[in-house]
Subunit: 421 residues, 2 copies
């Protein structure tokens, strides 16, 4: 025995553990988000970061949260501290159903609600419940980065539908659907951030929403409508979600408290046909048993007692000057040939530079000048667009936004000169 | 257009949406936990449930949580309400590393810690990061039900290692390892609830822990050591975790606040070699971005300020009489031929009835008599044991435990009579 142990010790010293040999094939293919790695650069020094996607902490209703939390721990500690059901805390689910009925005109009778650990978890669950390897999934080009990551794990075939100022170009989708049909393929799930999209800031028009639902009925696919930014409207008229136009139960709506309360709670929700929710609930059982209860009970009081409806206008008031500052600065500083979206809400503006500029390669120069953004290619499933970038206007104060855009414009001018030179 | 819409409407009326056609193959195979369905029966009426796995809410340190939460929202709201990093809140990770070093003699220098949404999420991540379809995974027979569910999604080949009063029978594992080797197969991951096991309540002896690590080195597999109950010791001497005996970095330790603070926070942690943590961190990015921050900051203060170490003895003091009551009642009421484990801690006792009794079939009679348990077969990967059951002693007060065991004994006696008759 002793001898055997010694032999082993020698063996281990000679060949340290080969960790790679334990990883699954899928884990071997997993890569850290490049964007996150890029952003690590940014943390040092005097760099104005327009890259992040964080809400401003000034918009967190800390005093309301303090009061609610104290009340919750006084009156509902038994619920807030115990395990809950996988589908979520029922009073919160009901409060959300009522809120969506009132605000989005989605009848409570037509949806069931499940709470999730942020809507990111819903994206993973959707992958798990709906995507077989090779299934065709349509996303917007560009689309939310972490949705690509979440779905990618399940090995779909991505179809990317181009965007304009009115959101996803549904005519192109229709052509694509016909083409898929000719090839004997079926689109299974379409993912859209319908309002104040990440990363473009644009909103899908009502006509396109209606047409999209018609196409979904005709070609028999599911629509996943991700609505994290829809309450952050600084101009223009409110627009009903796609889910409102859905009669057959094929739209899965994702909501979250991250932008209307605070992201630290990690509370989101899925509103969908009960049949779809049931399967997502079973999938969630083995993933985390249930969503954190303290956060759910706090979120319940926040909705139920009307704080949510009272607080949204305050967030809007806080962000509007920041959006305006960014639009004004772009107008003032950007050289000719640069285009950008003019969002009515949300957190982002999408800037397109003249062809020939690669924003990923330009990033190092920008950071050297003291400004950061997210290169646009990361938001495409096939990285097909090189000359765009996403700017965030919610996290940084107005004067810094102006200075950041000014610095960025200088970098762009230099690039343009270099190109022409 | 109008006409087309009408045609569609007709079509939809004739053929309502076929939801099943959207589900992935894996989703089609997912089933709701039978145990959960069984437990729904129990909620009605005067049934004493010894079936659950819930901690007693009386053990939640509500006053401490109130104080900490108020302090956290006063001083650390910016952190507690914002997005965090995927790896977790650094002060909590450090506090846990120090606590494990002190309490479990696991050098901080040898592990990295990642926080997770309860250790259930760690089980899913382990499946995702390590299991290819067909990989051989060893579990205890019986083992934690939701670990089977979590791993099953990744299609492993399960090997079940039998248990006795000293935990997993490591000699049988050794035989199995040799057999696998002859077949040209490799065990990749072994999962154990090493201390006060769920569902048996037994603890793996020190000798077996050491031998297990030797075998892991010799046969090159990873050990996942799940430790949710290890602090709940009512008798006997503390025992160091398997992770303590691990020199090569192949033991992944899972901890949780669910039984030493409260489950509602959904805060657990993984302590493992940095190389393994790195991959789990990348996998977690697309699953939920980060674990809920309010819970993490509260958990940090709870550990850092010494509340954890002061509160554990209070939980132990609360549960010990319940364990004693159950052991005494079993002794007093159970007919001859019934055996049970005598745990030094944890939440469960495992009862084995004479051969021929099927505890799943007996369940309906038990509920009719006013008592519930979890049939043992659910804890086996191949449902090979029919005559056992798991009893929980933490949730129900002593007098109910006595009454519940008495009712259960009556059911067993009737079954025995029926068998003999």
């Amino acid at each position: 025995m002793e001898e055997k142990a010694k032999k082993l010790e020698k063996k281990l010293a000679a060949e340290p553990l080969n960790f790679e040999s334990f990883f699954s094939k899928k884990a071997m293919a997993m890569k850290a988000s490049e964007v996150r790695e890029l952003l690590k650069l940014v943390e040092a020094g005097d760099v104005i970061s327009l890259a992040g996607g964080l809400p401003a902490p000034e918009t967190f209703p800390v005093d309301i949260i303090k009061d609610i939390t104290a009340e919750v721990l006084e009156k509902h500690a038994d619920k807030a501290l115990q395990y809950g059901t996988t589908k979520g805390f029922t009073p919160l689910r009901l409060a959300l159903a009522r809120w969506m009925e009132k605000r989005y005109e989605i009848p409570m009778s037509k949806v069931e609600i499940m709470t999730v650990a942020g809507s990111q978890q819903a994206l993973d669950l959707i992958g798990r419940v709906f995507i077989n390897p090779g299934d065709v999934i349509a996303v917007e080009g560009p689309t939310y980065l972490a949705a690509i990551q979440a779905f990618k794990y399940y090995d779909p075939e991505f179809v990317s539908i181009p965007m304009d100022d009115n959101g996803m170009i549904v005519d192109v989708l229709e052509e694509k659907l016909a083409e898929l049909k000719r090839e004997g393929k079926r689109l299974k799930v379409l993912y859209t951030v319908s309002t104040f999209q990440n990363p473009m800031g644009v909103t899908m028009s009502v006509d396109r929403r209606k047409r999209l639902v018609e196409l979904a009925d005709e070609y028999d696919f599911l629509i996943v409508e991700d609505g994290p930014y829809s309450e952050l409207r600084y101009s223009g008229e409110p627009i009903l979600p796609i889910k409102h136009f859905d009669d057959s139960g094929r739209v899965i709506y994702l909501g979250t408290f991250s932008k209307i309360l605070a992201p630290g709670f990690r509370i989101g929700w899925v509103a969908a046909h009960p049949h779809l929710i049931r399967k997502m609930e079973i999938a969630k059982q083995s993933i985390d048993l249930c969503t954190n209860m303290l956060g759910q009970v706090i979120a319940w009081k926040y909705v139920e007692d009307g704080h949510l409806d009272r607080h949204i206008p305050e967030i809007v008031e806080f962000y509007k000057p920041r959006r305006d500052a960014m639009l004004e600065a772009l107008e003032e500083y950007m050289p000719e040939g640069v285009r950008w979206t003019k969002p009515d809400g949300g957190m982002f503006i999408w800037v397109t530079l003249p062809e020939g500029i690669d924003t990923k390669l330009m990033m190092e120069k920008a950071v050297a000048k003291g400004v950061a953004y997210v290169p646009g290619e990361a938001f495409f499933t096939h990285r097909e667009v090189k000359n765009a970038m996403r700017l965030n206007f919610t996290y940084v104060p107005e004067e810094k936004i102006r200075e950041g855009v000014k610095r960025l414009a200088e970098v762009v001018e230099e690039e343009l000169k270099r190109l022409k030179g």
